[in-house]
């Protein structure tokens, strides 16, 4: 019980302090009785009206209805009282407030005219009846007084105005009856109504804005003909003015704080397509074409208008709006900054963009159209569009007008955005800017940009302050009334976007679902490094993003994990993959065909001719057909490789990569595949002893060029680029490309759930284990790889340590040359990446030399290791205090003896811990030898991966084995450390003394 007492005190305290005011929801007027505080605006009748209903109410005065409402929300008053529509408007736009349904006082709005102006009153009443009958009234109510949200903007109403002017007095501070909008126009229900009255009278409307309190006097003094601003009809007022019929049954309502839970955040709206938005909150930027589009086409939706894109996006993201219409060209930028937004519809409609000209300037306009046609004909236009729009580059080419003959003043909006106009590093760039500059040069005039807000463009043009205007101006009928447009030079699309978690399935969005190869145009495509697909995609789909992978297994992983949208690889391999990966599907198989050839060194045409002759033979005698059937038509995985007699007299070294059934693979301990069979047959017939050497695909050509192999074959496509470096045989097969995507990205598979059987973790692991290790005796690969890794590591370490000692000796010598050489060696070897060193030694230094690549690896790693070892030795030697050496010297030892007996044992103790670490690093470094065709532990893992496409297991296995090696080495070196540590030997010494 004692534990709880402090807590109890705390709770009580909280009650006392925190709850002077209880958060009770006021639900009806009755609860506002009993001395509650009302917030009312000064200068209105609100306070009187409240007191009429609740005589013991207390008043607090604020400047406006809005301030009253805010006071309520902040708890400074219990309720605010004012005209219901106004309060509803406020409650609609602000969370935490709710209008009580019961009115404090009934109220009616009316328009007022001078007491003797019966005629005008009649007209007003007539107008009211009319609009009630023809539906405009309902429309106005909906528009100006929506339940929730912002009032829609003022519609345009034509006024002929031949009969004079109707002077309408109003207080434009009473939203939504009469108020000032963003464009500084006086709008509102009452204003619209007054417009209709003016129209009926055939008069123009003059709006006179004034203080509320001044309206009546102004009317009486005949300064205005009619007044209205949510004006309540009261007896008092009716004494001095004549009221129309009530056009709005209002009332004084009370607005109170809303304690109920906030509006349910509407995520997971599951918007599927554009039709779903008809009852949602649609965000637009005021004054844009999207604004009117949304209003016109979605009358049941709530249109949320914002000043600019920044506000619109904020609203979208904070769930104040459900969807938004935006310029399609801005979406790239929008999505890159806001990855949580996505398309519902990528292109709802397109609007043409044109350059604006003053109506009297038809000559200039004509010249522009001519100019535009010219650049469309000569390709400049395409390039322009490509750079600015498709690629989204931000580079402005230099365009100057030499010897300008006058200026071309161009009105622009410098911050309208990409691709039209932006400012980068203080420089004005963009599609419209470049277009403008080119046109100026075309005219021989100097390009003079004049920056202004969007709203001023047309005005500036009309007043001839500028010669033309650009900056992504959409050609609309409205605008065409005021200015003339050039031919359209751009099409701007409108996109519908929303928060991704509101879209039914982000992938289900049109544009993200792919149906044909053309859908690849803007996607991320994964390909094999060094293949012909690279150049192909660059040409055909320049906007696509290319990601390059080293192995088929990596390719598959990437498309499965959505790192790319699609992958391209050869059809036959692709088909095999689909067999093993049911969640992938074929988008198309008809995209790209190339012939395949065997590669030969340009220096060896004889061999190539030999091979071509062989090809002809096997085609004629039917062998080719058999092979074709076995590997290409039937399931290559089930193919049985015939056996061959590799007992020829001449040696033939053939380079292959092993990732690609049906061409080349490594199964059951031997090389299999079409290419292998083909070459084996070739060897057999021509009496060659064929030796296959395996390496990374990108290294094949380099190896051929360096003379390490005489032929290469691995389903290699014949391409111009490659033909520059090597010669190809005649084509021996056709390569067809498959484009593979995830099923859920493919149109036609929508809604299909991929069937995956649920496996337990253990099942998964044991299955992986079986397929990666046991099947096809794959563990043998690992064992062999392990052997190689250990051999290279140990020998490289030995070479490195000895060489390192030598370099250290030189580094500490008296001879300046020795020191200099050692320093250069250390800098060079420490500064070169080992992989680069390895490849230089193998491909450059030992080019055309038949050297076992394992030796090359030992040399390369040894050289690198030595650089580090020498510095380690030096540091440890120099760390032994000088006195030790002096004692040795003074004791009669020579310098060498002193080093050997005194310094070295102590230095060794210092250096071993660091040496251990470097040694382990060395072991791990050897994992790169696959680049020079050495099959080490890592490469063994890669090979297995290429067969099982299982990324997880082989990698983990390799990691575990490296870990094991490292641990073993640590242990072994640890033993050495112990034996070098003198303290350990004390026991022995003591034993000796005791004798």
């Amino acid at each position: 019980m004692k534990r709880y007492t402090p807590g109890i005190y705390l709770v009580i305290l909280m009650q006392l302090f925190g709850c002077g005011k209880k958060n009770v929801q006021i639900a009806n007027l009755a609860m506002l009785e009993g001395g509650k505080t009302f917030a009312v605006p000064t200068g209105t009748a609100a306070d009187q009206l409240v007191l009429q209903r609740i005589p013991d109410a207390k008043m607090k005065y604020f400047n406006s209805a809005f301030d009253c409402a805010m006071a309520v929300r902040e708890g400074k008053a219990d309720a605010a009282a004012y005209d219901r529509p106004i309060l509803q408007n406020i409650a609609g736009k602000n969370d935490g407030l709710v209008v009580l349904p019961e009115l404090l006082v009934d109220d009616r709005y009316g328009f007022a005219v001078q007491l003797n102006n019966e005629k005008l009153k009649t007209v007003i009443d007539q107008v009211l009846t009319e609009i009630k009958t023809n539906g405009i009234y309902n429309d106005m109510m909906k528009r100006w007084l929506p339940e929730k949200g912002v009032p829609a903007p003022m519609p345009k109403i034509e006024l002929a105005g031949t009969n004079g002017v109707l002077r309408f007095g109003t207080a434009a501070v009473t939203e939504p009856m009469s108020f000032v909008d963003e464009n500084k126009n006086v709008v509102g229900f009452d204003v619209e109504f007054a417009t209709y009255v003016a129209r009926k009278l055939g008069k123009k409307l003059e709006i006179v804005d004034m203080e509320f309190g001044a309206m009546l006097p102004a009317l009486v003094a005949d300064k205005v003909d009619m007044i209205g601003a949510g004006l309540s009809i009261t007896e008092e007022r009716a004494k001095s003015v004549l009221f129309s019929e009530s056009y709005y049954p209002s009332g004084i309502a009370a607005i109170v704080k809303d304690y109920s839970p906030p509006r349910l955040v509407k995520s997971n709206l599951k918007i599927k397509d554009i039709d779903d938005i008809k009852d949602k909150r649609i965000g637009v930027v005021t004054g844009t074409v999207h604004d009117s589009y949304a209003i016109n086409n979605y009358p049941d939706a709530v249109i949320m208008q914002y000043q600019n894109y920044a506000d619109l996006l904020t609203a979208l993201r904070s769930e104040k709006a459900d969807v938004a219409f935006v310029d399609q060209s801005s979406t790239k930028d929008i999505f890159s900054v806001n990855p949580d937004l996505g398309y519902i519809v990528e292109n709802v409609y397109s609007v043409p963009i044109g350059v604006g000209f003053n109506k009297v300037d038809s000559q200039l306009r004509g010249r522009f159209n001519t100019f535009l046609n010219e650049i469309k004909a000569n390709g400049i236009y395409d390039d322009l569009i490509d750079r600015w729009d498709r690629q989204g580059l931000k580079e402005m080419p230099q365009i100057k007008t030499p010897n300008p003959n006058g200026a071309l003043r161009v009105g622009i909006v410098s911050d309208i955005g990409m691709p039209h106009t932006i400012v980068q590093n203080g420089e004005l760039i963009g599609l419209d800017v470049e277009l403008g500059r080119r046109f100026a040069a075309y005219l021989g005039r100097e390009y003079v940009p004049i920056d202004m807000p969007f709203g001023s463009l047309i005005a500036a043009l009309s007043t001839r302050k500028v010669d033309l205007i650009t900056s992504g101006i959409m050609i609309t009928q409205e605008r065409q009334k005021q200015i003339d447009f050039s031919e359209p030079y751009f099409k701007s699309g409108v996109s519908l976007i929303a928060m991704k978690n509101n879209i039914a399935r982000a992938a289900a969005v049109t544009g993200s679902i792919m149906t044909t190869a053309n859908d690849l145009a803007d996607k991320k495509i994964g390909i094999f490094t060094g293949t012909v697909h690279d150049a192909f995609i660059a040409k055909k789909y320049p906007q696509a993003k290319i990601l390059r992978y080293e192995s088929t297994a990596d390719l598959i992983m990437s498309v499965k994990t959505d790192k790319v949208d699609a992958v391209m690889l050869d059809l036959i391999t692709g088909r095999l993959l689909l067999k093993h990966n049911p969640e992938l599907a074929l988008l198309t198989d008809d995209i790209f065909n190339t012939p395949l050839g065997v590669g030969f060194s340009k220096k060896n045409p004889a061999l190539r001719d030999e091979f071509n002759a062989f090809l002809k033979e096997i085609r004629q005698d039917g062998t080719y057909a058999v092979m074709d059937k076995r590997w290409f038509r039937e399931d290559a995985e089930g193919a049985v490789m015939p056996s061959f007699d590799y007992s020829g007299t001449k040696k033939l070294v053939v380079g292959v990569s092993v990732e690609d059934l049906p061409y080349v693979a490594f199964m059951n301990g031997q090389y299999v595949g079409f290419d292998i069979e083909m070459i084996a047959r070739f060897g057999e017939r021509q009496g060659y002893d064929v030796e296959f050497v395996q390496m990374e695909f990108p290294s094949l050509i380099a190896a051929l060029a360096a003379g390490k192999v005489e032929m290469i074959s691995d389903g290699i496509s014949i391409s111009e680029e490659r033909q520059k470096q090597i010669d190809f045989s005649d084509p021996y097969a056709q390569f067809r490309t498959a484009v593979i995507v995830s099923k859920n990205r493919l149109a036609g598979y929508e809604g299909e759930k991929s069937v995956t059987t649920k496996k337990t973790f253990f099942q998964g692991v044991s299955e992986s284990f079986y397929s990666n290790i046991i099947l096809e005796n794959r563990y043998l690969l690992i064992v062999d790889g392990l052997k190689i890794t250990i051999i290279i590591s140990i020998f490289a370490a030995i070479v490195g340590t000895l060489l390192g000692a030598l370099v250290c000796f030189m580094r500490m010598a008296k001879n300046k040359f020795a020191v200099g050489f050692a320093q250069v060696y250390i800098v060079l070897l420490r500064g070169t990446p080992v992989l680069v060193l390895l490849m230089i030694i193998y491909y450059v230094i030992f080019a055309s030399v038949n050297i076992n690549p394992v030796i090359v690896a030992v040399i390369a790693f040894g050289l690198n290791f030595a650089a580090y070892v020498s510095e380690m030795f030096r540091t440890s030697i120099e760390s032994i205090e000088k006195g030790q050496q002096e004692a040795g010297i003074a004791g009669g030892f020579t310098k060498l003896q002193t080093f050997g007996y005194i310094i070295l044992p102590q230095a060794l103790r210092q250096v071993l811990p660091v040496y251990k670490g470097e040694f382990i690093s060395l072991v791990k470094m050897t994992s790169i030898v696959g680049y020079i065709a050495v099959q080490d532990l890592t490469k063994a893992g890669d090979i297995i991966r290429s067969r099982t496409f299982d990324a997880f297991f082989p990698l983990i296995m390799a990691a575990v084995l490296y870990l094991l090696i490292a641990w073993l080495l640590t242990w072994a070196l640890g033993r050495i450390e112990i034996s070098v540590d003198p303290k350990r030997r004390r026991v022995a010494a003591k034993a000796g003394v005791a004798q």
Binding site: I889, G891, Q897, Y901, P982, G992
Partner: protein
């Protein structure tokens, strides 16, 4: 045994040893004393070529050490060196420290070497530490092992470079005891040391090094009892002094007095003594007749606490203390009252007044 001729050593522009020539004979125990930085250790380290002299010659048993053909390590085997920072081989046990030299250099067998080593360790009292490592010993123990290590090589001469400077007083005595014993047994030793009592008692000869040369040498009695040269004396008596030169009658008495005050304060003289000194100085200058070349020196012996004021005046002979020389002998009286002793000499054209101030 060791003959040194005109040995010099420069470190760049810095001349540490100017010109040293000595003979060191068998059985001698030479202590080298002197202020810090005067090249004592440098001289010692030249003897076994740990430092290479810039000039001169060194002969060890007639063999020229600096000759190119000389097998220096071999010679070094005959010379042992004991360092200020011990320098025991950190990776070897105490026993192994002693045996490594004999085994590797003298070709002794392990058992033989071990046995000899244990003997030596017993000699220095550290037999039980044979299996320990140097970092497990105290400073004094380490130094004794170092000495034993040298002895294991059966040297003909031992060089000691400030062997006790790094030890605290309790450990100093144990090391000195060992060295004393070696001296008794007739080992030739050259010791650089600051232990004056030890040097005085144990040495056959003392080298006082100063100004880059062997400033004075002699038997301990000579050097400690009656040092001939000034610096030797200053060192031995640990004399501190202040010198002031006057060149004209218009000398600045206040500056002089202020320097003297500072000197007195520095050496913590009492107020009375300080006042006495200042008064005496004023008076002694007051009785002088010529002021063109006067050297005043105020000396204080830390050893016996004596304070001496010497006034040397170049000029005609003039003794103010003699009867009747001065008309007004108030000054002289004042002086005499505050001194134990006053004396006058005329030497080399200088009137030398020596005043022994009462303390």
């Amino acid at each position: 045994m060791i003959t040194v001729k005109s040995l010099s050593k420069h470190f760049g522009d810095l001349v540490v040893l100017k010109d040293i020539s000595v003979e060191i004979n068998k059985g001698e125990v030479i202590s080298i004393i002197g202020p810090s930085g005067t090249g004592k250790s440098t001289f010692l380290r030249c003897l076994n070529l740990l430092e290479t002299p810039t000039g001169g010659e060194i002969f060890i048993d007639g063999e020229p050490l600096l000759d190119k053909n000389t097998n220096v390590p071999k010679i070094r085997q005959k010379m042992g060196m004991v360092f200020q920072s011990f320098n025991l081989y950190a990776h070897l046990t105490v026993l192994e420290n002693l045996t490594i030299g004999p085994i590797k250099l003298l070709g002794r067998g392990k058992n033989d070497a071990d046995r000899k080593a244990i003997e030596l360790l017993k000699l220095v009292g550290l037999a039980e530490k044979a299996g320990n490592f140097p970092d497990e010993l105290s400073g004094g123990q380490k130094q004794r092992v170092a000495i034993a290590r040298c002895m294991a090589m059966e040297p003909e001469i031992l060089l000691f470079d400030e062997p006790t400077s790094a030890l605290d007083p309790t450990m100093v005595s144990e090391v000195l005891a060992v060295i004393r014993r070696l001296a008794k047994e007739g080992m030739t030793m050259v010791i650089v040391t600051h232990e004056m009592e030890f040097a005085r008692n144990m040495s056959s000869r003392i080298f006082y090094m100063d100004e880059g040369i062997i400033y004075e040498e002699g038997t301990p009695q000579q050097i400690f009892g009656n040092p001939l040269r000034e610096k030797t004396r200053a060192f031995i008596h640990r004399i501190r002094s202040l010198h002031y030169h006057i060149a004209s009658r218009d000398y600045d008495l206040y500056a002089l007095q202020s320097e003297m005050e500072a000197f007195c304060d520095k050496h913590l003289f009492t107020k009375e003594i300080k006042r006495a000194i200042l008064l005496i100085t004023e008076e002694i200058l007051g009785v002088q007749q010529e002021f063109s070349d006067i050297d005043l020196s105020l000396s204080y012996s830390e050893k016996d606490g004596g304070i001496e004021l010497v006034c040397e005046n170049t000029g005609k002979p003039f003794n103010p203390f003699a009867e009747g020389v001065l008309e007004d002998d108030l000054g002289v009286t004042l002086i005499k009252s505050r001194c134990n002793n006053v004396s006058y000499q005329y030497e080399n054209g200088k009137n030398i007044l020596t005043l022994d101030v009462k303390v």
